[in-house]
């Protein structure tokens, strides 16, 4: 056998190592978070760590199996897999089990399976397949198709509704950017986000215009400020820019101003139409509302748990704040609290750095590919992990709104563990084959 064909030899050791390390750490954490001395058995399925043990075994077997399958298989079956997951997503809406108000689960015996978790690698495969077949992303048609590929599962997931998992698809925007999507779109998105935040903060109060006695509602004041800003740019342009360029800039300026003004006034109406709990979550996040017993409760408790860990933490299984259930969803969405409380600043930093390393390694792996399919797929993987890290840890430390998505390998849950394992295993397999193209 050609040594180049040996998967053990060719697989990316850092990725596999990080995967195993993170999963081991994750399991130890769930064991601690849900520890019950009456059920100390590691495989006691009555406790979360017991079930998680089983899921880990399943994941390891599945991951090993994927490593043995040729990459061509995934490349060729990318669309069928995508279609299959879409069918699952439709099916779950019809026959799924409702948990916490979301029809997101297939009940299989005592276990539940969440097809939305599989949509991540399915979409990644399909998107990679489609984008790798394109020369450029400049055509409107290809952009629309790429957007459809991403948004179809999002729409189905939003119907469950599971906003968190749907939001993860935002990760694919990063992939599109890497593959040629104009940076302006990202820029505009960031600007829009800033405008949203500003208008939400300013709409709370009225503001006086300097040197006059007039008071204005915050939103209009913001538009007024933008107007003043545009006027300054206009004057600047008139003075310093060549005449033949001015017209174009004026047009941009006018468009930007009117667009922003329209956006700001529509944000207000949109926010008012949002469900109350989401409004409150946003307001708490922006510091407009202090509500430690209500919607801000989760975040407040989470920060308390993490903050009480101190520099070195309270020690393994000593995290009393999380252990005694002060943090809601402490073994799923808020698992990072256990890390923060028991391992302290040092442990949390190590965890953040390990995830950083995993993501950067994925990017590195991506950039060394000759196959476009593999490269794009690797970017999908990196982006998905990045978004999960950003939102999950960000929410636990009060930097992101409370959006229920798991921390990969740490949060309790079989579907997400399997989903992430498959996602990563396919990448490792594809990467291992990169040298085959030299033949």
């Amino acid at each position: 056998m050609n040594p180049r064909d040996s998967i053990i030899r060719n697989m990316d050791k850092p990725l596999v190592g990080l995967y195993l390390l993170l999963m081991a750490m994750g399991w130890a954490n769930i064991y601690s978070a849900a520890y019950d001395p009456d059920h100390a058995n590691l495989f006691d399925t009555a406790r979360e760590y017991g079930a998680q043990s089983i899921w880990i075994c399943v994941s390891l077997l599945l991951g090993a199996g994927i490593l043995l399958v040729h990459g061509e298989f995934f490349r060729n079956l990318a669309y069928p897999i995508y279609a299959f997951v879409l069918v699952l997503l439709v099916l779950v809406l019809l026959v799924g089990r409702e948990v916490n108000g979301a029809k997101a689960w297939f009940g299989v015996g005592g276990f539940g399976i969440q097809p939305a978790e599989f949509s991540k690698f399915a979409t990644a495969l399909a998107l990679s397949k489609y984008l790798s077949g394109l020369k450029t992303l400049q055509e409107v048609r290809s952009r629309v198709i790429a957007a459809m590929l991403i948004l179809l599962p999002v729409a189905l997931i939003l119907l469950q509704p599971d906003t968190g998992t749907a939001l993860v698809s935002g990760a694919f925007v990063l992939v599109l950017y890497r593959e040629g999507l104009s940076g302006n779109i990202l820029l505009i998105a960031i600007m829009a986000a800033i405008l949203v935040v500003l208008s939400l903060i300013m709409k709370e109060s009225t503001h006086a215009i300097p040197f006059t006695g007039w008071e204005m509602h915050g939103q209009y004041f913001l538009i007024f400020l933008l107007g003043v800003f545009c006027l300054l740019i206009f004057l600047f342009v008139r003075k310093f820019v060549f005449k033949h360029r001015r017209k174009r800039i004026y047009a941009y300026l006018l468009f930007a101003f009117l667009g922003s003004a329209a956006f700001i006034s529509s944000v207000d109406r949109l926010v008012d139409r949002m469900p109350l709990h989401q409004q409150t979550r946003i307001r708490v996040l922006l510091g407009l509302e202090y509500d430690p017993r209500g919607y801000g409760y989760n975040v407040e408790q989470s920060k308390t748990a993490i903050g009480s860990g101190g520099l070195l933490g309270k020690g393994y299984k000593q995290g009393t704040f999380t252990k005694y259930k002060y943090v809601p969803m402490q073994s799923t969405d808020f698992i990072f609290c256990t890390v923060g409380e028991e391992w302290g600043f040092v442990g949390s930093t190590v965890l953040v750095l390990l995830f950083g390393a995993l993501i950067l390694r994925c990017i590195q792996v991506s950039e060394r590919q000759r196959s476009r399919f593999t490269r794009i797929y690797a970017y999908c993987v990196a982006s998905i992990f990045f978004l999960h890290l950003m939102i999950n840890v960000g929410m636990a430390i009060g930097l992101a709104p409370v959006i229920g998505i798991p921390l990969p390998f740490f949060s309790y849950g079989g579907s997400s563990l399997i989903g992430f394992t498959v996602l990563l295993a396919i990448l490792v397999r594809l990467d291992a084959e990169r040298l085959e193209h030299l033949r």
Partner: protein, 616 residues
Amino acid sequence: MNNLDERKFVLIAAVLFVCAVFILRLFWLQVVDTGWAARAADISERKVTVFPSRGLIYDRHGELLVANTPVYDIMVVPREVKDLDTLGLSTLLNVPLDQVRERLHKAREYSQWKPSEFERQITAEQYAAISVHLYKYPGFYGQSRTLRAYPPHVAAHMLGYLSEVSARKVEQDPYYKPGDVIGVGGLESYYEKELRGKRGVKYVVVDVHNNVQGRFKGGQYDTLAHEGKNLYTGIDLKMQELGERLMRNKKGSIVALDPRTGEVLALVSSPTYDPSLLVGRVRNTNYRTLQQDSLVPLFDRALQAQYPPGSIFKLVQAAIALDEGVINLNTSFACNKSLVGCHAHPDARNVEEAVQMSCNPYFYHVFKREIEQGKDPNRFKDAALGMATWKTYMESFGLGHPPALDLPAAKGGSIPGVDYYNRMYGPLQWAFSTIYSLSIGQGEVLVVPTQMANLAAIFANRGYYYDPHVVRAIGSPDSLNKHVQRHETMVDDKWFPPIVEGMRRVVNEPGGTARRARIPGITVCGKTGTAQNPHGKDHAVFIAFAPMEDPKIAIAVYVENSGFGGTWAAPIASLCMEQYLTDSISRPELLKEMEDANLIATEKNYVKFVSKRRRQ
């Protein structure tokens, strides 16, 4: 595509940026801002006070005088109350319906989460019936605590009671917290520190539902509660009970001491009350009732009533005179009733007979010789000199100052001296003729019943006494109270036997004044007294000790407004001593006569009145 390759750096930078922001934020949360750790501790750790159980009080034979009994408070946590059946709860706890609603409302106003008292102090028997139904009322639970119980229902004054600590005390003594109990009066107050023990503190970790989940850091910051120490008194429960029975419907007191040690054997003040009247939720109402009673049952006569001693004072007068050498054993004086009134009896030919017959004129002469010793030609100055010596003698008999008793608020009586009369009449304005009634224990001299019992102990010991004390041991029965001191009188021991012989004759010879005090088979020595007073009939007093040869008990009985000392006080003392010495009563008719006697004619319904209120 080269330009697109650059874009990987944007993504890498974004990842690095997010990681850096997270690490900085974590550094802020976990290392810089210590407020989160404090908040976590605040939320999940609780300091639980461990209350030690209060020490018990035993009599000399190990019988319980004061015990602890569990009671239950019904607590409510308003937030946990669900689908409340108010009517059912009302019947179960026997609380009126509107009260149920009002209390629940109050509890809600106080706190939704913290438990409030809903009903207080349900007895263990009642709680046993209630607790099986309590599960139907989520949010309600029973919480046990202890109250004092008095199995024999005696010695209320001596024992004292427990009360909620006052705001002032809380301010003065950091040990106490509002709501704590503290001993008031009697042993409960005097031995408060020993009885209460020491509170412990336990730090526990609670979960989000406020359930205790374990000890904080394995209990390394906990402090143990030290149980209150038991008190072992010298009280003889049977004699105490008998004494209280005998004194029923009489005003006065009984004090019995063991002359060999100073231990108090019985301490009765009458009228008294059942100590369990001042326990728990009925205390305030009962206290008010007792306080307003015209017979002042809360007043501890044994320690605080200051009476003229009457003729028992003659014993001391005789001892001082003999020691001073102003009389000898065979000095005799005629019973000259023109000096001071007396009853019909032959002239006393010596000290023994003078004591035996309690001859007033005899002691008029004795006291005259003590005061007028001829040391100064001026009879006023001579009286002042004699008075000064006499007072120091008197004080050596434990008179004129409060006894070193382990009970609060004992009074000291009064032995008038030079200063006293100088203030009263002016210096050199008084002489023996002014103060002669002191000779027979009348006039300005005042003695507390405990001091009278101590006098009996001094004559039983022939010249010395130990500080009277109730508690013989603290903590364990054999750790004896070490603070007890022996005091010698100023009178030489050799002068006591003749006076004791006189006391024997008082009881045992024809012509003695207390023949009703005899106990078959035991030689009792005693002395009667009859004290005139402005409140009606004379007070009767009798002090005694027995057996003569080896005294084991010294006793003083004081019965207000009952007339002659030999009639009422002597038999009561005799019955008590017999009970103590032989553990039996050989004269049931006498016992019945004494028990039935009602010397509080105007207030005869008093006892019924109190016992009606006895059981809450």
